[in-house]
């Protein structure tokens, strides 16, 4: 991505949130939705455009688990480690995923294809154990189904698509009361 492109993206996000109280976290969500992480250049540009010191931006970014500072790669594999998933074998699934992908939790594979992480409960405890691959949620995962998803190109959605499917922080403001 070029510096002008970043400037443009940040300008749109800043325009939406700058006048709203306490909206720094929402603006940062906007950046992460756009890029899959918060690039340093974008954080710097956001600081300038929203008049927030860079130190404050990083103070916030590093506090919250949800924000990533590095590109996560194309396929983000998240193993849920909520209590229900934990009891139903999530630690073993994490080990298997780690071995299969050759990376530890929190790491991205050298070819940028996979990022493995642990998440704290995606709220599907009735379907435990749960693993998500980008926006796709896999229910009642077994060693076999996990292996299928990690090897079989089933992990097709990209981070961009995942972001689009999630939060509407990039969408235009909806204060005009229009449905």
């Amino acid at each position: 991505m070029s510096p002008t492109q970043i400037e443009g993206d940040v300008a749109a996000i800043s325009k939406r949130w700058k006048t709203k109280r306490g909206s720094l976290i929402m603006a940062l969500h906007g950046l992460q939705d756009r890029y899959g992480y918060v690039p340093r250049e974008a954080a710097m540009s956001l600081g300038e455009q929203m008049d927030v010191p860079l130190a404050r931006i990083y103070e916030v970014l590093t506090f919250y688990n949800y924000f990533r500072l590095k590109s996560p790669g194309k396929h983000v594999v998240s193993v849920c480690m909520g209590t229900a998933c934990y009891l139903k074998g999530a630690p073993r699934l994490l080990d298997e995923a780690s071995e299969r992908l050759g990376i530890s939790p929190g790491e991205t594979s050298p070819d940028g294809e996979y990022h493995l992480q642990v998440v704290r409960c995606v709220g599907c405890c009735g379907l435990a154990p749960v693993v998500t691959v980008n926006a796709e949620l896999l229910a009642k995962v077994t060693s076999v189904t996990l292996e299928e998803h990690l090897s079989g190109g089933k992990a097709s959605a990209t981070v961009g698509a995942a972001a689009a499917a999630t939060v509407g922080t990039m969408a235009p403001a909806d204060d005009d009361g229009q449905v």
Partner: protein, 550 residues
């Protein structure tokens, strides 16, 4: 949608909802349903209905509570009661339509209990000896209406409570009704709702603010997600009424970023309510104006704590501050702020419509109304249940949820998440109330209920919960930051078979110090899972210690 008026809503209250002359089909399409494959099921149903030009209505709905049986499809033949199918595949769904269109009876396979067989709803008499044991006030519309259609909410009595409040009740009368109802905060601590509302109303400030706490942090609980996804207008209506009572002009939904579908549906509900004149300037033509915005969490358990949540809403690190001052006096941007949990707010409209007296007759003692639990772990029928307070733990985990999936005896049940505690099987006949659970060393919490069977290792589970709190500690106060880490080291040592009797004693001492000296609920509650495990299962810990003679 044109803006609604009081007469419009009054007419709605009188109207009988249209009855379909053709079969209707509902597909459960909340996060659980979608994860289990509801999308292709919906597509298969739609394709089959379309190709045969049947004109049957297929709608999506929220979580019916039977999460382990998703994808769920409810089929209603006109004049008959609804039939629910579970574990539906696209092939089965297609066949369902084709066979019924061809005049064949509905198949017997894949049948699961229909909602009416599981639960009574607000307005029905509370369950006696026979009949469904669940009682749904909060989840009254979940799995019933299309959460993305405000008209379906309106058809079920939606926004009638708002109309009643704005047309005939003073804020004091609403507070009085809440007082009579006995409603207590459903986030876990059980603070009387009416008192919180009154304290915030009476505090002086430039503006008053209401916040809906949807930062469901307990890893193992998802009641709030399901309600936000399944019936967002119910929560929004409670919030608008709350805004009126405390004199707020703005409100915020604070929702976990990990719940994208809940966020989408709440945003949509807000847009619909604005278009209908139920939110925004001069609501229902009165001089009451109120707006609501959505703000997202970013993955910090501590933000469920009120003061940390406020810091996060202000766009800062989510670190808690000492109380007092309480948020009701000095909260968001220093203004009086009322923070209510999702489930608390979903109760409000029913209390207004049916009366506080009605609500107070449900429940036991000082725990009135119902509570929604996410029953998970080693249980047979994992899912959401809403029960009248006072029902025993055994009725919930064995009666409603079918006991363990393995058929092995239940070893313990955990409530309250990382700040809660274990309840051993021998105490399962305890009624579920705030007081009874506290007496057992656990607490109500937000509604996580994890079932463990004999194979589960409670030393490991204690380590899991404590590890969670150590990871999530914000680091501001020393008792939590240092105490938690030291406790975890001792637990590691014990779990690995290197612990001594003295380590167990130190563990307990540290736990009590953390409970007393930590700044916020996270640190104060973090030792609870360990202490309750020691209280009921100390031999399991002792069995791991190195022999004293060595």
């Amino acid at each position: 949608m044109p803006k609604l008026t009081f007469p419009d809503l009054a007419a709605r209250a009188q109207a009988t909802p249209p009855v379909s002359e053709k079969p209707t089909i509902k597909v459960g399409m909340s996060t659980c349903g979608l994860a289990a494959g509801a999308d292709p099921v919906h597509a298969a149903l739609a394709a089959e209905v379309e190709s045969r030009s049947l004109g049957w209505r297929i709608s999506r709905t929220g979580c019916a509570g039977m999460c382990s049986m998703e994808p769920l499809v409810e089929f209603t033949v006109p004049g008959e009661s609804a039939v629910m199918f579970g574990g539906v595949t696209p092939e089965f769904a297609g066949r369902l339509v084709a066979d019924h269109a061809a005049g064949k009876p509905l198949p017997d396979e894949n049948r699961v209990p229909a909602i009416a067989e599981l639960a009574r709803v607000a307005g029905d008499p509370v369950a006696g000896e026979a009949g469904p044991r669940q009682y749904r006030i909060v989840m009254r519309n979940c799995g019933v209406i299309d959460p993305e259609e405000i008209n379906e909410y309106l058809d079920r009595g939606g926004y009638q409570a708002l109309a009643k409040t704005l047309s005939s009740m003073s804020p004091e009368q609403v507070i009085e009704e809440l007082k009579v109802s006995g409603l207590r905060g459903r986030g876990g601590a059980g603070f009387p709702a009416w008192l919180k509302w009154r304290l915030t109303r009476e505090s002086k400030g430039n503006e008053h603010i209401i916040v809906c706490n949807g930062d469901e942090g307990d890893p193992g609980a998802y009641m709030d997600r399901s309600v936000l996804e399944g019936d967002p207008h119910a929560v929004l209506e409670g919030m608008i009424i709350g805004g009126y009572v405390i004199g707020a002009v703005s409100g915020f939904f604070y929702i976990r970023a990990e719940y994208p579908l809940a966020i989408q549906r709440v945003e949509k509900a807000i847009r619909q309510a604005k278009a209908a004149g139920l939110l925004g300037t001069n609501i229902l033509g009165t001089d009451f104006s109120f707006n609501v915005e959505v703000r997202l969490g970013a993955g910090a358990f501590v933000c469920g704590e009120e003061t940390a949540l406020i810091a996060s809403l202000e766009g800062k690190r989510g670190t808690p501050s000492p109380r007092p001052p309480y948020p009701s006096v000095k909260g968001l941007w220093g203004q009086p702020t009322m923070i209510n949990n999702v489930e608390s707010l979903a109760n409000i409209s029913q209390i207004i419509l049916r009366g506080g007296q009605w609500f107070s007759t449900i429940g036991l003692g000082a725990s009135t109304g119902t509570k929604v639990f996410a029953v998970t772990g080693k249980v047979k029928n994992a899912g959401l249940v809403e029960i009248p307070m006072g029902m025993t733990l055994r009725e919930v985990v064995e009666g409603i949820c079918g006991g363990t999936a393995s058929g092995e005896p239940i070893k313990a049940v955990q409530t309250g998440g990382p700040s809660g505690g274990l309840i051993p099987a021998r105490e399962l006949d305890t009624p579920i109330t705030y007081e009874h659970l506290q007496k057992l060393g656990s607490y109500m919490g937000s509604g996580g209920m994890i079932v463990m069977d004999e194979r589960d290792d409670l030393v490991e589970l204690s380590r899991f919960y404590l590890g969670f709190c150590v990871d999530e500690s914000c680091g501001k106060c020393a008792p939590c930051r240092i105490g938690g880490t030291q406790m975890l080291r001792l637990l590691d040592k014990i779990a690995d078979g290197r612990g001594t009797n003295e380590d167990v004693a130190t563990l307990k001492r540290l736990a009590h110090a953390m409970q007393k000296a930590s700044l916020c609920g996270l640190g104060q509650g973090a030792p609870n899972p360990v202490l309750s495990a020691l209280r009921y299962f100390e031999p399991e810990f002792r069995g791991r210690l190195v022999s004293e003679s060595n």
